[in-house]
Every structure is written in structure tokens, then in C-alpha cells.
């Protein structure tokens, strides 16, 4: 079931009404049943996978506590099961294709088996979420749960099941286990998030997505067309993914839950490290805590740090999909981080000249943001373009060889994308403006609480709804992160 469907709207309204009429334990049973209904709505067999993953993790965690001497074996049981399923469903065809290609280059033709496996949506997300539970139990940071239903509800919690944000067991599981009360304030703020999310998905992401799809379907893109398409894709993927997160967080609030934020205005990042503190935060922190730090993090010298960063980002790239362009995208961001640190070591930043600080500092910040955004665009080219030959061709295009008509068309697509994405930029700049020097965000609302704020939110939600009715794209696209 997808958020932007009537099916979901009806499901959610009925579900929420019944949900709040139940006491805590039956509420959890109902939440579990609703989540499995949500996930198995199209393909019932998906439920077998998530149930298997949950059962194995439950047993593994219980085993770790019951037989501490065999903790490591139970951890491996969980890792092999979870990553085994993920690997089979997500990477089997990729692996076979590459083996066949390698054999072919050696002159050894091989009739490769093609299973044409359908990738179960959300498997990458819930696998990582379930893994966080067993790893935390292994590390002694969490105790194994006796109640299988609570664990299963945590793994399958439907608002974020398909595309995150990935929640840690230590954060979400206690919310499942604790009795919840309906909060009008939470529902109000959740409704705002839902409206904003639907606006971003249906008006911004789907409209600019059409531009990106058209450009990436061209066989002979010129420089201006290609980069206007990359720009459109950058907006699409941010609007699309953050929309899913917002709707997930908003619907969760209606159910009495709180999910962590997943984006912090990433296109206003000033450095690669800053970007990764703002983009897909739940996945980045998962890789940081379960891959990067166990590898040694930054404590083992510059060379090992660089290795750890590269391993982490290569795996992060591969997580996104079974294709070399994702690996390349991960490697690219890893290299950016390594180069940034190398540059800082070799040439420490000069202090901003005194006397001109506010103006000069503002200009430097703008230049840094623009530079980082340009680097991010190169990354999105690698991410979106699946053919390696087309990537090479794209990166060697000359900006001066394009015909005048293509320059105008590229500019037109760029401005059209900018027009659709204005609310997104305005929101980011507004929030950034209210961030203090330590990076803490202050409430962006200047409207006093109570009725004035309710009026502003009502009008804003109404305008979002009107814009959805008026400007929603005729091409209804799936959420991009469903495929991961």
C-alpha cells in the first residue's frame, strides 16, 4: 500500500479510529495486524520474509541472554539470516550477471540462471532495523525482549516500514511497550507534516521527476540539457524521500509515536561531512554506528580512517541497489570526505578577515553551499545514470558545444524546476536562518502559539491542499526509495 493512494487514506482513517478505542495490549495486536495488512496488501508472500526475519532475531536475542557463552554464534545466526535474505532477493541477479560478464571476458560463455526475483519493497529498511536490535542486544546496550508481538510490531511498524526512516530498537521499541495516549498537539503537528509531505511528493517531486525522466531518456543529451536534468533529479529525490519521511512521521504522531528526523536541509550543507549529517540521517548513523565505528572510526590514524570511510561509503552505495553506479556513487562521496580531510590537514582554513566578518562570512558560506551543491549534483548523476558508458559520456560533455536551442531548453527546464522547488528552498533557507552558531535550530515560527498559529497552519495546509488539487503531476510516480 502506498501513502498517496485512496486505499491508504481510507485504511488510515479507519485504522486510527479503531486503534484509539483499544487499551494498550490489544492496541499493539491491532497495530501489528494493521502493519502486516499494509505490507502484505499487494504481495502476501512478503509477509513470510518479514516474519522469518523477526522470528530469527527474536530467538537470536533470547539465545544471547540465555547462553552468554554462545552470544557470538547467535549474532552470526541473525546476521547470516538477515543479510542472506537481503542478499538473495536484492543482489542475486546482480551477482550472477557479473559472474557471467567476467566469464565472458575470459572467453568462457555461461548460460546464466535468471531467477527474475521480485525485490520485496522495504526489505533493506526493515532488515537494517531488525539488525540494530540484535547487535544492540549483543553489545549489551539493550536487553532481549520476551514479548515477540512487541518486537514484531517494532520491526513492521507500518508508517515507516517501506522507506524508513530506519529506527533504532532503543528508540522505537520502548514506545511500542509503553502505553500511549492520544495527543492533540502531536496530531496537529503530525497533520502539518502530512500536508507538507503530500505537497512535496505530488506537486514538487512528481512534476520535476517528469523532467528528470525525460532528460535521462535522451540518447544524445547536451551539457545544458543533461545538467538541468540532474538538477531536476536532485530536487526530485530530496522532495520525494523527505516527503515519505514527513508523512511517516506525521502518521506516526497520530498513532502516538515519534520517529526521528531523516533530513536537515541537506542542500544547504557546506562540506561533504556536513551533507552526510543532513541527508538520510537514519541510514548514515546506522552505517556510522554498526560499520564505521566497529572498523575503528577515526581513532586509528589518517590512513585507516580513510579506509574506514571508503568501506563504509562503498557499502552504503551498495545498500541503495544492486548496480555499479550506486557503488560508484558511494565511492565518490567517500573520496569527497577523504579529500576534504586531506585538504584540511595540508592547508588549514584561514580565519575570516576582521572588520568584514558579517559580509565576508556570508559570501564564504554562500560559496561553500553552492560548491557543495555542485559536488552533490555530480553524485546524483552517478546515482541516477545506470549505464557506466553514459556516465563517462556525460562527464566529458563540453558546455560550449551545445546548440543555442539546447541552451535555451536547458535553461527553461532549470527555471521550471526551480519554480516548482521554490517552497522547498524557501523552507530550507528559513530554517537555516534561524539556526545559531552551534547548529541548534530555533523554532522557525514567529507566530504566537494558540489561535494565531492555528490560523496560519490552517491556511498553510489549505494552500498545500489547493496546490495538490491544482498542480499535482499527471504522472503519478512511485516513491524513489521504495526500490531500495
Amino acid at each position: 500500500m502506498i501513502f498517496h493512494s485512496l486505499d491508504f487514506v481510507l485504511f488510515f482513517l479507519v485504522f486510527t479510529a479503531i486503534y484509539w478505542s483499544l487499551p494498550h495490549r490489544p492496541q499493539n495486536v491491532f497495530l501489528f495486524a494493521g502493519s502486516y495488512f499494509f505490507y502484505g496488501y499487494v504481495h502476501l508472500w512478503f509477509l513470510i520474509l518479514i516474519a522469518t526475519s523477526t522470528s530469527i532475531d527474536y530467538c537470536a536475542a533470547r539465545g544471547m541472554e540465555a547462553r552468554p557463552a554462545h552470544r557470538r554464534k547467535f549474532l552470526w545466526l541473525s546476521i547470516v539470516t538477515n543479510f542472506g535474505m537481503l542478499g538473495f532477493f536484492k543482489y542475486f541477479d546482480f551477482f550472477v550477471d557479473n559472474v557471467a560478464a567476467a566469464l565472458a571476458t575470459m572467453g568462457l560463455p555461461w548460460h546464466q540462471p535468471t531467477l527474475r526475483i521480485l525485490l520485496p519493497v522495504g526489505i533493506s529498511f526493515y532488515t537494517f532495523q531488525a539488525m540494530s536490535y540484535t547487535i544492540d542486544v549483543y553489545k549489551g546496550e539493550l536487553h532481549a525482549r520476551r514479548n515477540l508481538l512487541d518486537l514484531a510490531t517494532f520491526v513492521s511498524f507500518f508508517p515507516h516500514l517501506v522507506a524508513g526512516p530506519i529506527q533504532r530498537a532503543s528508540f522505537l521499541l520502548p514506545q511500542v511497550e509503553t502505553p500511549r495516549r492520544f495527543s492533540v498537539d502531536k496530531a496537529t503537528s503530525g497533520f502539518g507534516l502530512i500536508c507538507w509531505g503530500f505537497f512535496k511528493k505530488l506537486v514538487i517531486a512528481d512534476n520535476v521527476g517528469v523532467i528528470a525522466n525525460k532528460v535521462f531518456a535522451l540518447g544524445d543529451p547536451t551539457f545544458p540539457l543533461l545538467w538541468s536534468g540532474v538538477f531536476a533529479f536532485a530536487i526530485q529525490i530530496y522532495a520525494d524521500f523527505s516527503a515519505y519521511t514527513d508523512i511517516a512521521r506525521g502518521t506516526s504522531r497520530w498513532l502516538g509515536f515519534e520517529l526521528t528526523e531523516n533530513f536537515d536541509h541537506p542542500y544547504l550543507a557546506r562540506t561533504p561531512a556536513d551533507f552526510w549529517r543532513r541527508w538520510n540521517i537514519s541510514l548514515s548513523s546506522w552505517f556510522r554506528d554498526y560499520v564505521y565505528i566497529p572498523l575503528g572510526g577515526s581513532k586509528a590514524g589518517d590512513a585507516k580512517w580513510a579506509r574506514n570511510v571508503m568501506v563504509t561509503f562503498l557499502l552504503s552505495g551498495l545498500w541503495h541497489g544492486a548496480s555499479w553506479n550506486y557503488v560508484l556513487w558511494g565511492a565518490y562521496h567517500g573520496v569527497l570526505l577523504v579529500l576534504t580531510r586531506a585538504r584540511r590537514i595540508l592547508k588549514p582554513a584561514a580565519p575570516v578577515p576582521a572588520g568584514h566578518r558579517p559580509v565576508v562570512a556570508a559570501l564564504i558560506i554562500m560559496a561553500q553551499v553552492a560548491g557543495m551543491f555542485a559536488l552533490t549534483l555530480v553524485g546524483w548523476l552517478l546515482f541516477r545514470e545506470t549505464e557506466l558508458s553514459a556516465i563517462v559520456r556525460a562527464l566529458t560533455l563540453s558546455p560550449f558545444s551545445a546548440p543555442a536551442d539546447d541552451r535555451s531548453t536547458g535553461l527553461y527546464l532549470f527555471v521550471l524546476t526551480l519554480l516548482y522547488s521554490l517552497p522547498l528552498w524557501a523552507q530550507s533557507i528559513w530554517v537555516e536562518w534561524h539556526r545559531d552558531e552551534s547548529g541548534v535550530r530555533h523554532p522557525a515560527f514567529i507566530v504566537p502559539p494558540g489561535w494565531p498559529r492555528a490560523a496560519v497552519q490552517g491556511v498553510a495546509c489549505g494552500l498545500a491542499f489547493a496546490a495538490i488539487l491544482l498542480l499535482r503531476s499527471r504522472a503519478s510516480l512511485d516513491f524513489i526509495y521504495f526500490q531500495f
Binding site: 485512496l6 481510507l10 499487494v42 535468471t114 527474475r116 521480485l118 492533540v184 498537539d185 496530531a187 496537529t188 503537528s189 497533520f191 500536508c195 525525460k214 531518456a217 535522451l218 540518447g219 544524445d220 540539457l225 545506470t386 549505464e387 536551442d405 539546447d406 535555451s408 531548453t409 535553461l411 527553461y412 527546464l413 527555471v415 521550471l416 519554480l419 502559539p449 494558540g450 489561535w451 498559529r453 492555528a454 490560523a455 497552519q457 490552517g458 491556511v459 495546509c461 489549505g462 494552500l463 498545500a464 491542499f465 489547493a466 488539487l469 491544482l470 498542480l471 499527471r474
Partner: protein
């Protein structure tokens, strides 16, 4: 959303609830501005004369000139469809091969409602007796009467519709009774969205062109943009759209489709109706993956069509239709059009030249 401080908790909660309800109400109220904005221009009371289920005006009259053209041509075969048929069938090649005149009744962006009306109001009404009429379709859209019947595509129906189309109107009405369309119609009645969209959408898409090229240069810029993203410039995509699972319940969808009417018209006209399901773009050298639900749909469709005197020909899985014949999406490339037509003739020659039938059973079955 915290109401004024100092109030007792109960009052605060009540205040918050009222504010939440006010926000919900405003969310639903603000879009009424669309209605006010377009209240004068949006004539929602007039209905499409031949399809009263839809609002709107008829933009062109029935193309009656087609009827004498068909009578004069007296074709042995008629091809009806959208670009799936248009990019596949070269009527001159098919005519030369089969030895009978072939009449193409094609309309880009058309759907089953158009195909049914073309069959009824042009072919049957002309009184011609072709050996066979082919209707091309993809996957499940033959039984989806709403396919390409929205505002954007509906205009082309005008050219095939007579003054009243009661049967089609009934079918559309039954399809509209579903939950999605009921909601859509409700929203439309409340906010008059379609009229507002017709005004605002072009404004948004054209404004940047005007800023860049000025009013005089805007048409040229948009024309170049359209031409630049035309079929000639698109690369061969690795995967065309996967067949969707939606609408694969044949038993449910056939009741709300024009398929029974098409088959009845073929019997009335005394010709064979052959429904041609085109193969979608191959992936990795093989036909695209089909869900079990889609396979069952095609099986049920075939049984239904045969039981009602028609023929279903399915390209899917034909090894001779290879990826290099495709252009973008599911369209066949220009250079392969003649090859496809020859192949089509080979597969269905028993229908086009019955005298050549050897074993008695049509190949298409």
C-alpha cells in the same frame, strides 16, 4: 499547538481540539478559492452531449466523412488502435502481403472507448464487410474503459461519437461508481478543479519559457523542447513500464468495459474481430516479467473472447519480436515497422487470406 497559558488542563485540551478541528476545516475550505477564482469561466452545469456523465462541451462534430471513405475503399482488413498499432502496422505492406486493402483507423493517445466507437460508428455503420478487424491494446487497458478518458485525452472521442452514446455512457457510469472516481467527482463538484487546472497548468509551464525567450520567442522554445524530447532523440531504455497488477481481475473489469459491446458489434457487422495484445518491451532478451495475476487475466480474456466469437492474438513471448525492433517504451522503431508488419501477416495470414488455411484452425487461437 498550545493555547493560552494559565488555563486549566481540561480547558487547554478542549482548546487544542477545537484548534485542530479548525485547522482541518481550513484545509478543506481554502481550496474553495479555486471555485471562486474560476467560478465565472467554469461552466460545470453543461455536460458532454453524448456522454452526460462528463462535464464539458463537444469540440468537434462526428467525422462522418470516414464512412464513405471506408465504403469506397471496401477494405479486407481494418486496424484500430493507438500508437501501439501505428508504430507496428504499415498498411501498405500488410495490404501488399494479404492482397486486400487495409484501412487504418488510428488515433494517438486513444483508448478503448475510442476504439469501440470507431468500430461501431465507422466500420459497422459503413456497412462494409472486412474479413477481419484488428484492435491493438496493451495488457489490461482493453477492459479499462477509463483508460485515456480523462480531460486530457477525451477530446478525440468527439470525432467518433454520434449524438448519443447511451451504452458507452452506462459503461462509464458503472466504472465511475468505484471509490476513486466517486471521490474524484466529489472533489470536482466541490472545488471545480478541472477548470482551474486547465487555466493554471499552462501558465506554470509556459511562464519560464516567456521569461527566457520573451513572448515572441516562447512558441519556438517550447516547440524545440517538444521536438528535442521526441522519439528520435530517446535512447533505448533498459526497461519499459512493468505490467501493472491493477485491473487484472478480468471477471470484475469486463462488466465495466466496452469489450462485450465490441464483440457484439463484430457479430452485428458480420466480420471477425481479432484483439491484438502487443508484447511490451523485452528485458534482457526476454519478454517482460508478467505477474501471475496478469497471466490469469490474459487467460480469462482469451476464453471470454473465444466464447463470444472473437480471436485473441498475443504477441507476448514471440521470439521473432526482439528488443532491437523497439524504439522508446513499447513503440516499435520506424525501421522495424515493415518487418513487424510482415511478421504480423505471417502469424495471422489465415485470417487475412482464409483460402490459405491448411489445417483449419486459425493460428491466432
Amino acid at each position: 499547538m498550545i493555547p493560552s497559558t494559565g488555563a486549566p488542563p481540561g480547558t487547554r485540551v478542549r482548546g487544542s481540539v477545537v484548534q485542530l478541528l479548525a485547522i482541518l476545516a481550513m484545509t478543506l475550505t481554502v481550496p474553495f478559492s479555486l471555485r471562486v477564482m474560476h467560478g465565472r469561466s467554469a461552466d460545470t452545469t453543461s455536460r458532454l452531449p453524448y456522454l452526460p456523465v462528463f462535464p464539458g462541451h463537444r469540440s468537434q462534430l462526428f467525422h462522418a466523412g470516414r464512412i464513405p471513405e471506408l465504403q469506397q475503399m471496401n477494405p479486407g482488413a481494418v486496424v484500430i488502435g493507438d500508437s501501439m498499432a501505428g508504430t507496428r502496422i504499415d498498411e501498405r505492406v500488410l495490404s501488399k502481403r494479404s492482397g486486400v486493402p487495409v484501412a487504418p483507423l488510428l488515433q494517438a493517445g486513444s483508448g478503448p472507448a475510442f476504439w469501440y466507437l470507431a468500430l461501431k460508428n465507422w466500420v459497422v455503420a459503413s456497412g462494409i464487410k472486412p474479413r477481419v478487424v484488428f484492435i491493438f491494446f496493451r495488457d489490461t487497458n482493453l477492459t479499462d474503459v477509463m483508460f485515456r478518458l480523462d480531460d486530457q485525452f477525451r477530446w478525440s472521442l468527439d470525432m467518433v461519437a454520434s449524438d448519443t452514446e447511451e451504452e458507452l455512457n452506462d459503461v462509464v457510469q458503472s466504472a465511475l461508481d468505484g471509490p476513486f472516481y466517486a471521490v474524484h467527482q466529489g472533489v470536482e463538484r466541490l472545488y471545480h478543479v478541472d477548470a482551474a487546472r486547465r487555466t493554471v497548468e499552462p501558465m506554470v509551464s509556459r511562464a519560464p519559457a516567456r521569461w527566457i525567450a520573451g513572448s515572441a520567442g516562447q512558441p519556438r522554445l517550447l516547440e524545440h523542447a517538444n521536438q528535442r524530447f521526441g522519439l528520435d532523440h530517446l535512447r533505448v531504455m533498459e526497461a519499459a513500464d512493468m505490467a501493472a497488477d491493477a485491473g487484472t481481475d478480468f471477471a470484475a473489469s469486463v462488466k465495466q468495459s466496452v469489450l462485450p459491446l465490441m464483440l457484439r458489434e463484430a457479430q452485428r457487422g458480420g466480420f471477425k474481430l481479432c484483439l491484438v495484445r502487443v508484447q511490451r518491451r523485452p528485458v534482457n532478451g526476454q519478454p517482460p516479467v508478467q505477474s501471475p495475476a496478469l497471466k490469469k487475466y490474459v487467460h480469462d480474456l482469451r476464453e471470454y473472447v473465444q466464447a463470444h466469437g472473437g480471436i485473441l492474438h498475443d504477441d507476448t513471448g514471440d521470439p521473432a519480436i526482439t528488443l532491437d525492433m523497439y524504439e522508446d517504451g513499447d513503440h516499435i522503431a520506424r525501421h522495424a515497422r515493415a518487418d513487424y508488419t510482415r511478421l504480423f501477416y505471417e502469424r495471422l495470414r489465415v485470417l487475412l487470406r482464409p483460402a490459405l488455411r491448411v489445417n483449419g484452425a486459425p493460428a491466432a487461437q
